[in-house]
Amino acid sequence: MKIDSTAKSLTISIVSLLIFVTAWELVCRLGFIEPLFMPAPSKILFRAIKMIDNGQLIAHTLASTRRVMVGFMISSLVAIPFGIFLGSSRFFMAVFDPLISLLRPLPSMSWIPLSLLWLGITETQKYSIVFMGSFAPSLLYIIEATKSIDPLLIRAAKNLGASKLDVMREVILPGSLPQIIAGLKVMLGIAWTCIISAELVAAREGLGFMIMNGKEYFQTDTVLLGMVMISITVMIIDVVFRKFERRLLPWTR
């Protein structure tokens, strides 16, 4: 029954996608929409073929992906140990609390002007935007995750003779890992947001640049192609991430 209904849903989804794309194509072909405002899917496809041919599409996608990955890795590598430390220490949590609450609501975009002043239009500036945008929220996610651990488990560990450090390593880290990973998945989305905006404002390559540049040349097909590429890339990364997640959390089935 379950298999049946999943298969049914999939069929409906595919049919609905086909209808949607066909309708879009028709509306454009019949001239109801000015192609400047919305090009037909076929035009986007042609643009895609052209840009794959001259290598630009891959180059832009890789540029954005690389920036996201580098910035995100650095941010995670700092945030995870720091977050677990803060989550287990009331004192240092209180020390850093005002700073974190001030940084948390800041959209990563608001760092762009400052980062441009500090670092100019460089790759480091791009990484810094991703870092700035994802660090504070990652940290908060991780602190939250450490707090979600059943205190009973900490009691049980201590009752079996675990020291403070043992508790951190053997209970708090693995216990919060599923939530940390869930949080990082959200962060990865935010990292994409960061990089696209950084590229919209100042860049010479990347999907954000491609979209902005397309707009300046009135190539709405390039704009939409860029958007579709972002969607696809994020989806692919999501799938990869999920594979990796299962590896890391064998106990959750």
């Binding site: 441009l116 002043l117 500090w118 100019g120 239009i121 100042a202 009135f218």
Partner: protein, 308 residues
Amino acid sequence: DGKPEKVTVIYGGSSWLGHYPAWVGIEKGLFKKHGLGVLFQNFYASSGRMGSLVAGDLDVAATGSISAIALMASGSKAFQAFGTPDSYATVEGIIAKENIKSIKDLKGKRIAAPFASSAHVLVLDVLEQNGLDPEKDLTLLNLKVNEMPAAMGSGEIDACAAWTPHFNKLLNMPGNHLLVNDTEFSLFKKYKLGPGPDLLVVRKEFAEKYPNTCQAFVKGYFEAVDMLIDEPEECAKVLVKLTSLDMEDQMAVLKDITWIKGDEQKALMVQPGDFVTGMQQLADFLVKHQQIDEAPKVKAWIAEKMVP
């Protein structure tokens, strides 16, 4: 004078005409003649370039004077000015739809200018001359120059202030005409100074540490200016690599520029310093229009020793 202490100079520029001499100097080997290697770093916006200069990533740069004045006003003492290479009063201005005959007709219309630029200052100035308030009488939009042809084309704006080469492109679009150019700027009438003349700047620490290198750079640079005056065609051939224009457009741009030679610099910058006086007026103008807080004493930022 001795040999350069340091043989590589990092120059910050863009495809803007103010950077033509540096590019020509590099491509035509004029710096090399003086024992210098110059690295041309491309920056899209003046502000990023100036930030890099102050941060020590660049040694020399050319920049719009608005940007330079703003940086002076921010209190940064880390840079100095030592020359002005060009005047381009006829390739920057306000372009409007044909139904707008005079500045007064702009009332109630949508007009675009890149904020914090010379074109912005031009708009503020001519509006003031005609008694219009940019806050109340019309809508002033912040748009990049390269976005203007599209915005004019779609009718989203009624007029815009831009500079070459988009200036020329906008003029050639049907239904557009030139409303005013930089010659209508109030300070131009007095000092022959546009709203945003280009300025050569150097990192102060660099100037103090490597005086010979700086001298060599200045020499090579103004030799390039001479070449731009004497052999424009030769120069255009290398410039297209920087600007991506075709030869014809490139020559047209060159024709509109008035280059200022090395031996004229002293008069503008130091004795008697007409240009600097004009810059000071510009700074006061910016204060009046609340673009900066306090007018810097521009004189204090002139590297007198480097002016040829």
